[in-house]
Symmetry: none
Amino acid sequence: MSSLAAIAALIGDPSRAAMLQALLPGEALTAGELARVAGIGAPAASSHLKALVEAGLLRVHAQGRHRYFALGGEEVAAALETLLCLARPAVSVRPPWPHGEAFRTGRLCWHHLAGRLGVALYARLTEDGWLEPAPGGWATTARGEARFTELGVDLAAARAATRFACDCMDWSERRPHLAGGLGREVTSLLLRRRWLNRIEPRADEALRRRRLECTPEGRRALESEFGLAA
Amino acid sequence: MSSLAAIAALIGDPSRAAMLQALLPGEALTAGELARVAGIGAPAASSHLKALVEAGLLRVHAQGRHRYFALGGEEVAAALETLLCLARPAVSVRPPWPHGEAFRTGRLCWHHLAGRLGVALYARLTEDGWLEPAPGGWATTARGEARFTELGVDLAAARAATRFACDCMDWSERRPHLAGGLGREVTSLLLRRRWLNRIEPRADEALRRRRLECTPEGRRALESEFGLAA
DNA sequence: GCCGCGCTTCGCCCAGCCCCGAAGATTAGG
DNA sequence: CCTAATCTTCGGGGCTGGGCGAAGCGCGGC
């Protein structure tokens, strides 16, 4: 069996194609959400997702009782887009964010930063050489060690946590943000310096999560310290 | 039904995938030859070919009692190559035919040069100031215009194509090579000048893709004209 | 005109796989 | 500990569609 046929057949099923298209923006979705997107039941979705992961088309990130699925890499997205060039324009998007925009900018997840700010900060730290992969998560590079200390992050407290630095899938952005002791300490610093402020939830907001807001000085600081265009 | 799924399902059948791979070099084959490539009977082949033509993946040219089939266009070749990039190192199976190394040196993709020679040439042209980025692909620089003309590349013919110069992902090298009208014309020149020669497929790989070989004078010419250490 | 060849259409068979329902595993929350 | 939620595996049903043989159509050659 040609590998070309094997890969194309995986994409060629309507249910799996719907899932892949829903993941094309790069955000991760849970198995249940993908089942709903494809219009099938949970068992069928589970079977499809297993096959896609085994073929390398998807990556899976288990967290709690959820399993988040994302595209396996840039080549996968490229292949899907190239295939779509052959197809007629058909639009299929994942359902709009049902909880309003308010929580997407910034919020607390456990004790660390989540939302757009969280995933953006995570991207900067991992791509600009503050962190490097380590067993079970991340470790600081020499440069990161110096920069965190300079900023006033309590690395000793961070290392006292059960996990120093690891990924946490972001609820609204569907990309990972920084968790673990380091995530907690960095967020603690951002709040202590008033770069971020908590906003008390309104009465009509069922969700009890606290939103976070970037202050003007925080915007400047995040720009200069992390290279974040907030 | 998603059009992504429809297209991928067409490529996803083993028989159709074998036919498409056999047509990747850009030359046309008859229905009977394609049936033999796929290892199926004439009726089944006819049915497959009809579906591929209706979807625009193939073009057909009737001549006498033969019907010649060829890929529908450059986008089709590009999509197939990109899909092949996802092929995993499934080393569990022995290579049914020498796909591995034999085709990596040089081969035809649609009508342009692929393989090590293709990506090396692409690198030289884009890095040495022959080409510059343009909307939808590449344009010649003033220097490139002069050099191509001096070499004998038919730039007018290249500009008559639907796309002048664009990227095509190389499935064996995992880097882009030059496609579009310019890719075709440059390759045409290399063959015309006998800098590259086609190698007829052996009997046991009948109708598979054609390899390309660099002649001794071609090696010298590619070195002096393009700076290619072949 | 007649046959040979290439290709297509038609009718049928059957394997693959896509889906669901039921039951089990794992986790979060009270 | 108990319940609810999420996801998995397992078993069985239904249907798409890929394959072949037989027959039909069109072209080229004797």
